[in-house]
């Protein structure tokens, strides 16, 4: 029996899980169009490998990982690439981003794929396979799995099956239905980080999932631990605290305390890749809220949410938007054509009955309920004041960046202040300023380098000139002797000063050069042209004569 610990704070929002958790998951039908965002993970955008018009097979890599902190994107089904262009994506900005759109051909024909023996591979190769298989953390943050599990041996491997956010039931259904496959995936992750203990944390509101996992984990050394239901238990740092009692240091990652944490759905995706050769092309998504029959669906990535909602028996009248994710941390959108991405664990159809508009905010009364609820043990009311006053330095001093944006503070706020919005604003402002500062520093360095280079060039030129002069000086006596000997130089001051000698030599050289140059277009002329030239020359001579006369005449 494991001794469980508590994290600070936490809240108990209405669960709303039973709506979607009771029906077994179903496979969503092939959509009419797939929109694959090139950035479905934290890190660098994947680089497209296909063009409009290309025929692709299911599971074929469409975009490769760019650098280490990135992951590949694959074709969820066979078909034709329609375009590689900007498309609106699920992002709070509502701005478009680069996407590959794919028209399925209906054949759903697989590209060559085969399982492989992960034990026979060196660790680096296995990690590269995870990257090229597009495996990222499916808990919500989509952190590339090959980066997370690249760390050396850890003491504890924590598998996150808490699924604390209301409405969402994908991990619940996945654990109930595919426990054995999850465990096979966990074995691969264990092979990567060789932990001395492996723990799966599941909230106690999922008894069937717990039972299924316990059965699958029998005699594997994997411990299934029931944790109390409390939001946000599913936060990485919170779950680690509950299971190990160790706290992730401020600004650190679980790896700093010898723990690696991954989602059960990620373990399942790893299993599909290794034991079936299937890259990440689909995921389980809960469709719930104001729909006729809420349910979980195995959905191809890139499916428009409008078609997904149709699978759940279409939206109920009065529906007025969607939430990507849960109600606490999710993204509220209104565009039904937005595609499912790797981080999409839930689509909630909103209606004013289920999600009434928040009441108007009142001023903060400093009741500190938010501080009692904060799972990161921060002082949300202070952070709110600093963010509101744009005192970003102070906000950072109060560990703004340890905020996980779980929304527990805003949930308990009696004044209904949208606290998380302030923290997000402050964070992005700080990041933007940091970027600007780095750009300014880079510009300063380049400018200073340029000034230095110009100085150096000037110096070098001056030095060269000085050297040349010196060389000319030493050569001058030899030169000036014949010059002085020739009778033509008799009218000059015969033993010319060295400078004059140099100048005279230069003039002489220029004269010689001028004499060598022959006008090239005067050879092989026709008699007519020669006559023309003669005429022009005659005219010129005449003009010269005229020009000379008047200048002389006024003088007289």
């Amino acid at each position: 029996m494991r001794l469980l610990h508590r994290f600070h704070g936490g809240v108990h929002p209405d669960e709303h899980k039973r709506e979607s958790s009771e029906l077994p998951s179903a496979r969503a039908p092939l959509p009419s169009k797939l929109t694959l965002l090139l950035q479905q993970h934290i890190g660098a955008k994947a680089k497209a490998l296909v063009q409009a018009g290309d025929q692709v097979l299911k599971g074929q890599m469409l975009a490769r990982a760019e650098g280490n902190m990135s992951a590949a994107i694959h074709a969820p089904t066979s078909g034709t690439v329609l375009s590689v262009e900007l498309h609106t994506v699920p992002h709070p900005s509502g701005l478009p981003d680069l996407c590959i759109t794919l028209a399925p051909d209906g054949a759903d024909k697989w590209a060559d794929h085969a399982p492989f023996d992960y034990r026979a591979l060196p660790k680096e190769e296995l990690l590269a396979k995870l990257r090229d298989g597009g495996i990222v953390g499916l808990g919500g943050a989509t952190f590339p799995t090959h980066v997370k599990f690249a760390s050396g041996p850890v003491q504890t491997l924590v598998l996150n099956g808490a699924e604390c956010e209301p409405w969402i039931t994908t991990d619940d259904r996945l654990m109930r239905e595919r426990a054995a496959e999850i465990v096979q995936g966990i074995e691969i992750l264990r092979h990567l980080v060789s932990p001395s203990e492996t723990v799966i944390g599941i909230e106690d509101n999922k008894p069937q999932a717990i039972a299924a996992m316990q059965q699958a984990c029998a005699n594997t050394g994997i411990e299934v631990v029931t944790v109390p239901t409390l939001y946000p238990t599913g936060g990485e740092k919170q779950l680690v605290k509950i299971l190990t009692g160790k706290e992730v240091p401020s600004g650190g990652r679980p790896f700093n305390i010898g723990v690696t944490c991954g989602n059960v759905a990620t373990a399942y995706a790893v299993h599909r890749l290794v034991h079936h050769g299937e890259p990440m092309i689909s995921r389980l998504v809960t469709v719930t809220g104001a729909v006729k029959s809420p349910q979980n669906f195995e959905v191809l990535l890139g499916t428009p949410i409008a078609e997904l909602v149709q699978c759940a028996g279409s939206a109920l009248p009065g529906a007025d938007g969607y939430i990507f994710g849960g109600p606490m941390m999710g993204l509220h959108v209104s565009d039904a054509q937005l595609p499912v991405v790797k981080s999409t664990n839930c689509i909630i159809v909103k209606s004013p009955q289920l999600f009434p508009a928040p009441p108007p905010a009142l001023p903060c009364i400093r009741c500190t309920r938010c501080a009692q609820a904060c799972p990161a043990d921060l002082q949300p009311q202070e952070l709110y004041w600093f963010a509101k006053a744009k005192e970003f330095g102070k906000a950072q001093e109060y560990h703004l960046f340890d905020c996980i944006e779980c929304g527990a503070c805003a949930y308990v706020c009696p004044s209904h202040i949208p606290l998380v919005q302030y923290y997000r604003f402050a964070k992005s402002e700080i990041w933007a300023r940091e970027k600007e500062k780095n750009a300014a520093d880079a510009a300063r360095i380049r400018h200073e380098f340029r000034l230095e280079r110009i100085e150096r060039d000037k110096r070098e030129k001056a030095e060269k000139l000085a050297q040349k002069e010196k060389a000319a000086l030493s050569a001058a006596p030899a030169d000036s002797a014949p010059v002085a000997a020739t009778p033509t130089s008799s009218d000059d001051a015969a033993p010319a000063s060295p400078e004059q000698a140099v100048i005279a030599a230069a003039i002489e050289r220029a004269k010689q050069q001028a004499a060598q140059i022959q006008p090239k277009n005067t050879d092989h002329l026709t008699p007519q042209q020669q006559a023309d030239i003669a005429e022009i020359e005659a005219r010129r001579a005449h003009i010269r004569e005229i020009a000379h006369q008047p200048t002389e005449s006024p003088k007289e």
Binding site: Q39, L95, L362, P363, S428, E436, A443, R446, H447
Partner: protein, 183 residues
């Protein structure tokens, strides 16, 4: 009485020696305030302030010969930071003076460019690549948007392109929400 005098004189000598020693050994080269001001300036090196770069402007501010509201690329935020650093009042941009513009980068129309290198010589941060009679192009990532390359171009092939907002440059807005009026 003499003891007191000796003690006082002794203290004076010791302190004098310490001060003299530190004046020589802990001498601060240059004006550290200039560097602090320079760190706040946006480093566009555009000369819109009337000085040939950010550092000369910073020096002028430190000497008190320049106002703090002469840097349009820094925006009002920049003035605020300078005011805070120097402990002076915030001063808005002057009427009719250059105003801040959205961040943009230069763009060379390569069909028109004749490869004269004049813009390369004008660029304060070496953000233009090219050579005599070769195509020139702007290294957008290094361009500070100073516009110094536009005037020297003999064929007017350089224009400024405002940077579009993308997901990567997007920022969360300051929350605006209705507050209930207290009765």
């Amino acid at each position: 009485m003499f003891t007191a005098l000796y003690v006082m004189a002794g203290i004076a000598l010791v302190l004098g020696a310490v001060l003299g020693y530190s004046a020589i050994h802990f001498k601060v080269e240059g004006n550290p305030l200039v560097d602090k001001i320079d760190a706040v300036l946006p480093q566009t090196q555009c000369g819109q302030c009337g000085y040939p770069g950010c550092k000369p402007y910073a020096t002028a501010i430190a000497e008190g010969s320049a106002d703090i509201n002469k840097c349009p690329p820094g925006g009002e935020d920049g003035i605020r930071k300078l005011a805070e650093l120097l402990g002076v009042e915030f001063k808005p941009f002057g009427e009719g003076a250059a105003q801040p513009k959205p961040k943009s980068v230069a763009f060379i129309d390569e069909n028109i460019c004749i490869g004269c290198t004049l813009c390369i010589q004008a660029c304060p941060v070496d953000a233009i690549s090219g050579a005599a009679k070769q195509m020139h192009t702007i290294i957008a990532a290094e361009c500070t948007g100073c516009e110094l390359c536009i005037a020297p171009c003999p064929v007017d092939c350089i224009s400024m392109v405002a940077l579009p907002q993308t997901i990567q440059t997007w920022k969360w807005q300051y929350p605006v929400y209705t507050m209930r009026q207290a009765a």
